[in-house]
Amino acid sequence: MTEPALPPRDDDDFQAAEFALGLAEGEALTVARERARRDPEFAARVALWQERFVAMTDGIAPVEPPKRVKKRLFAQLFPKKRVPLMERLWVWKGLTLAAVLALAYVAMPTLRPPAPDQPGPIFATQMRGDVDDLELLAVVDPARGELALRRLAGAAPDGRVLELWAILPDQDPISLGLLPEGESLRLALPEALSGQVPALTLAVTDEPPGGSPTGGPTGTIRALGTVNEI
């Protein structure tokens, strides 16, 4: 090296300028980055050089970025909100608790005659599809012959209605009725299903207004779930 000897302040200042310009490489870059992070005086030198160099962009006139840049940016930073897991869990627990309370109510001999069935297991499923974001939670209480449904996300496509189906192995789907617009729904489980809940799959299809004209599903399956004991 044939560089003239300079006072250390100049060395520091040169190192800071090199770092601010992006000319530091390898070991020198690692060292400068570490100094900038820890040494306030060195950081101040870097900041000063950055303030000076930035004037080289003064003559650069703004250029409107294409709209797609912002669209992609916002999609990256703020992805469409899915219902967070904890919230799902909470809803799930809420429904279960409601079912348990209902069972307790049913079992209270002073309030009601003894329930015909002993309180039994409860089944649930989270129904989803890959067509859109329709998502529902279903809880089935075979002992009381009830099904509770909560819609977490999604809606019927324009001009269509959503219909709920019970599917059992080797049988035609059984319609459980149309889904109302609202968030939740309780319905009575048809007699035919009562003994077979552990094998039950629930599905939602879109159908013409008024429901399937044939008695069987005719539209696209938009959400599907097989129940599990909880």
């Binding site: 090296m1 044939t2 560089e3 300079l6 100049d10 200042d13 040169f14 300028a17 090199e18 310009l21 992006g22 000319l23 530091a24 490489e25 390898g26 870059l29 980055r33 900038a36 992070r37 820890r38 040494d39 306030p40 060195f42 950081a43 101040a44 870097v46 900041a47 000063l48 950055q50 303030e51 000076r52 160099f53 930035v54 004037a55 080289m56 962009t57 003064d58 003559g59 650069i60 006139a61 703004p62 250029v63 409107e64 970025p65 294409p66 797609r68 840049v69 912002k70 992609r72 940016l73 990256q76 930073l77 703020f78």
Partner: protein, 180 residues
């Protein structure tokens, strides 16, 4: 550009305020995109660098207060460094020059110092022009085109160490000119 307004927006972005982020994008997006475009020249690459720049701004806005830079310097430097990293990314063994949000130790210069620096900066072009022509061009090449010592040495057809000495003298002359 109103310094205080941009500073307030960055402070709100640090609190993850999306509306402020949207406003900041509207206020400075054009300038930052132009800087990315100047460095990268190709629109597709500049669009990608622009997106990366704003992701860094969103994630690091809380570090802005500490580093003592003026708000536009902070924003433009992130855009410039991000664009240069993208430009150099295809080279073997490239190390990114950008640190997330420009990690500088606190306290940096006080706001007064930064303001002084900003007014000094207005004289930069003049001072660059007063440098020996090659040295001014080398500095611009390094800052706006991301040229490395190796690039500059081959462009001016001098050995690497000579290039480094040139730049060192150029920077000292520049600093003196700007504080005159």
């Amino acid at each position: 550009m109103d310094r205080e307004e941009i500073e307030r927006l960055i402070a709100r972005v640090a609190l993850q305020d999306r509306e402020a982020f949207d406003t900041l994008y509207k206020r400075v997006g054009g300038k930052l995109f132009a800087v990315c475009l100047r460095v990268l020249t190709k629109r597709a690459a500049a669009e990608d660098a622009m997106q990366d720049t704003f992701v860094k701004i969103w994630k690091n806005a809380d570090r802005y207060q500490a580093n003592g830079l003026s708000p536009m310097t902070w924003l433009i430097t992130i855009a410039r460094n991000t664009a240069i990293d993208r430009l150099r990314a295809r080279r073997k063994g490239h190390q990114d020059i950008d640190t997330p949000g420009l990690e500088l130790a606190a306290p940096g210069p006080s706001p007064e110092q930064a303001a002084v620096a900003a007014s000094e900066a207005a004289r930069l072009s003049d001072c660059l022009d007063r440098l020996e022509e090659d040295r001014g061009a080398a500095l611009r090449g390094a800052y706006l085109e991301g040229e490395t010592y190796k690039d500059l040495a081959s462009r001016f057809n001098v050995p690497l160490n000579t290039m480094r000495t040139w730049l060192r003298r150029g920077l000292i002359a520049l600093r003196e000119c700007m504080s005159e």
